[in-house]
Amino acid sequence: MPYGLFFKDLTKSFATPARHVTALKGVSGELKPGQITGLVGPDAAGKTTLVRLLAGLFDADSGEIGVTGGTERPRIAYMPQKFGLYEDLSVAENLALYADLNGLDRTTRERRFAELHRFTGLAPFGKRLAGQLSGGMKQKLGLACTLVVPPDILLLDEPSVGVDPLSRRELWTMVRSLQNTGIAVLWSTAYLDEAERCDHVILLHDGVVLDSGTPRDLNRLVDGRAWKAALPDDSSVAAKRDLQRAANQTRGVVDAQIQGRTLRVVMTEKDAAPDFASSQFAPLRQLTVKPTTPLFEDTYLAALRAKRGDEAPVAADIGTYNVQAGQNANGRPVIETRDLTRRFGAFTAVDRVSFSVKAGEIFGLLGPNGAGKSTTFKMLCGLLPPTDGTALVAGFDLGRSRADARSHIGYMAQKFAYYGLLTMRQNMEFAGGVYGLRGKLLVERLKDAVEEFDLGPYFDLPCGDLPLGIKQRMALACALLHSPSILFLDEPTSGVDPETRREFWARLNALADDGTTILITSHFLDEAEYCDRMVIIYRGKLIASGSPDEIKRAGGDETRTLNEAFIALIEDYDRATNNGVAA
């Protein structure tokens, strides 16, 4: 009889020097044999704590964990978020090491390795150092090492973080193929779209289970509540945002989002179409709405709001903070690259990439990890000089005046990039000061930022322990202190909950409306849906560009998600260049 796990009323808290954090506040659930259970929630929801409790790494403060089925102790395999691969050992040596650690004898080992190689497709890379593998390959190797001895229960902590869509799909296929062995799998993830691939889902938010069930069951919560309306072909970026704002103010609307040329709306009531006909805003009255399939994100938001008893749409009305940017907003290109090239020795990381970004646009720079997207981004931020070609940013030639260009851009790193021990005020003083804000001007800008971004209560606290959403707001405020005309964002909302993400995008939209140009890099395609235009960079080359809809069309069938279009484009490219084998 295959094994499963159940857990009841688990609580766990941790003490940090600054405060006491309760990571789990009474969490119950179950992992059934032969099923993939998705543990879905944003960063800091308590996912890792729960996985570690189940793996037996530490004890819960209270609650119960038990095994179902079987008579002996089940073998539990646990793959942590950062798996302990030895980067200076080869793929084969890493596998052998974990086989040794698990005491696997010679004959079983050879058979098992053969299985794992077939399963992971790692066989051709046996001699490659683990440190030189891509993010996706590392995860595959980590998974293979975790599976050297076939487990009864497999716990995976965010296996798809930092993995590009292509590898993500492969990882899912690999784990799916384990199912017929009857093992119970826990897959934790911050990507809500992954929930739909699970057999059973536990929605976690802030240490509490919001809801659980099959994806179908959970989606029932929003059945008949999702609607979409096609926007006119010629809608300008600003017009789309006006529509979104007006839609959000319509009675009964929980959430209105622009995705390409589509306006998606989620309602509070089932089967009640949004009443755009009586809107004050003429363009909104023109739209015809049709029912559409709800997304998991809708479910998540609805479950979260149901739990809180709050149905208001996320701050639709956000002022603007970037006062000077508007002066540039006349639609001329503020970023322009021509044959931008960057070589590292013999390796060409970016190969003759040309594109331009107009003032007030939200522009996505997309691509798998290690494809040249980050190198392009770094050149545009003035961090790296180009080897060849030209790049103009805010009127400065990056080949010549990188430092001058830097003073006109705002930058927000993917990771929170401020000293955690310093207070928010101290960090922000520094952030403004290095851009030349002094004395009264600095004080005023800080005061405005605190007001605009609602940072008052946290202003004199050390910022390391603040919640993720607050840190993100602070980082955005810091990037805007010196009123840059261009804002560079590196994967700004990967891992944050949908609510925080909506609020964040509302701010970005408001900034763009006022003429701030926003360049976003991401390998996370959910984020790209919100961009006005984007380019996809793969193997150093620009392989596609256009609006989200144009990209989807380029990928094939228009109904596909951006994610699928992205995979299709990359696969097409690999087929065309005939080097799809190398990783």
Partner: protein, 378 residues
């Protein structure tokens, strides 16, 4: 943005960076503790433990002579703080095992005819057996024995009037009349500990930012690489200066180290010295990407720097090629200045002779750090 001269703008940016660095070091309880406690502990530990004097050498005595003179000689030995009598032996066979087992470092054997010969005006012999395995201590012990025996024979000659006193060689140690090794060690520690602190702070500074993920954010600001480096050097140098002066003050208060020279010259020396060692720290920072690597690299710099400085063994005793190497070691010069200012009134001209090599080393190291740093950013 306000328009000032580019230079004033750059200075203002550096000032913001320096302020942030100070705050970051100060608010971090760990780095605060590391800055304050270990150097003070090390000062006391080294000053007390690492003395070059030899005390309480375990001594075994085999006195085969019955005379009064031999007893006087033994008493001279046991009265000396250098020796502790651990055994009175009765036969020569007992000596071997005692030395072998390390129970006694030295055995003193006074033969039967010692007093007789002495009274007869002949020169008697005594035998000293020393454990040569501890060569340093043995050498020190031998020199103490010579002292004691010489004093004994002088005294004897004077009181008995048998032989006129031979001319004597009197050694007098300048600057450190009592040859107190703390006087030698503490000014050295002032320089050495200051170097360790300043090097480690700078070596870890950029690696820490890389690990925290704050470094890219710093690089996209208008701060230029040299400005970032200056912003990293200044806090470390200021803290190093505070550290050095505090240690010096503790030396004066607790170990009665004199201050015979001009403190301002010490400050000048420390300032130039700190410029050079923090630049070495930044070179390490530019070459490493994690704090762990930086720490190891810092120690690979600090250890040879201390050994090749003259802190424990005089540079003059080193082989010629090694002496040549010490010319590139800033600590070598700082040690001279520190000892010179504390123990003698080192004239300004001599201080400058030691300052300018450090300045050259500092400028070279700072340029190298800037180059390495910019190269890494390309």
């Amino acid at each position: 943005m306000m328009s000032h001269s580019p230079f004033a703008e750059a200075l203002a940016r550096i000032a913001f960076l320096v302020k942030r660095e100070f705050r970051a070091i100060w608010r971090d309880t760990r780095s605060r503790t590391i800055l304050i406690l270990p150097p003070i502990m090390q000062l006391f530990l080294f000053a007390y433990a690492a003395t070059f004097e030899v005390n309480n050498i375990p001594l075994a005595v085999l006195n085969e002579d019955m005379g009064l003179a031999s007893r006087d000689l033994v008493a001279d030995f046991t009265a000396s703080p250098a020796f502790t009598s651990v055994a009175r032996l009765t036969s020569a066979q007992e000596i071997g095992p005692l030395i072998d087992d390390g129970d006694a470092l030295m055995a003193l054997r006074i033969p039967q005819d010692f007093s007789r010969k002495l009274l007869a005006g002949k020169s008697p012999e005594i035998q000293v057996i020393v454990d040569g395995r501890q060569s340093n201590t043995a050498l020190m012990a031998l020199s103490y024995i010579n002292d004691i025996v010489e004093r004994f024979s002088r005294e004897h000659a004077r009181t008995s009037g048998i032989v006129p006193s031979p001319p004597q060689l009197v050694t007098r140690a300048w600057f450190n009349p009592n040859m107190d090794s703390k006087w030698f060690i503490v000014p050295g520690l002032v320089a050495t500990l200051t170097m360790i602190i300043a090097t480690v702070i700078t070596a870890l500074s950029i690696a820490r930012e890389r690990e925290l993920g704050t470094f890219e954010q710093l690089l996209v600001t208008p701060l230029r690489p040299p400005e970032i480096l200056i912003g990293k050097i200044v806090p470390a140098a200021v803290l190093g200066m505070g550290e050095g002066l505090t240690l010096g003050l503790l030396g004066v208060l607790f170990f009665d180290i004199p201050v015979r020279g001009d403190v301002l010259l010490l400050v000048l020396g420390l300032a130039v010295f700190l410029l050079s060692v923090t630049s070495f720290g930044l070179m390490i920072s530019a070459l490493t990407s994690t704090q762990q690597q930086a720490q190891i690299a810092a120690f690979c710099f600090i250890m040879p720097a201390v050994i090749l400085s003259g802190f424990t063994t005089p540079v003059g005793n080193m082989p010629e090629t090694i002496q040549w190497l010490t010319l590139f070691n800033p600590l070598r010069y700082m040690l001279e200045i520190s000892r010179g200012v504390f123990l003698q009134d080192m004239p300004m001209s001599v201080v400058f002779e030691h300052v300018w090599p450090m300045a050259i080393i500092g400028v070279a190291a700072a340029s190298a750090a800037t180059w390495l740093f910019s190269r890494k950013l390309q």
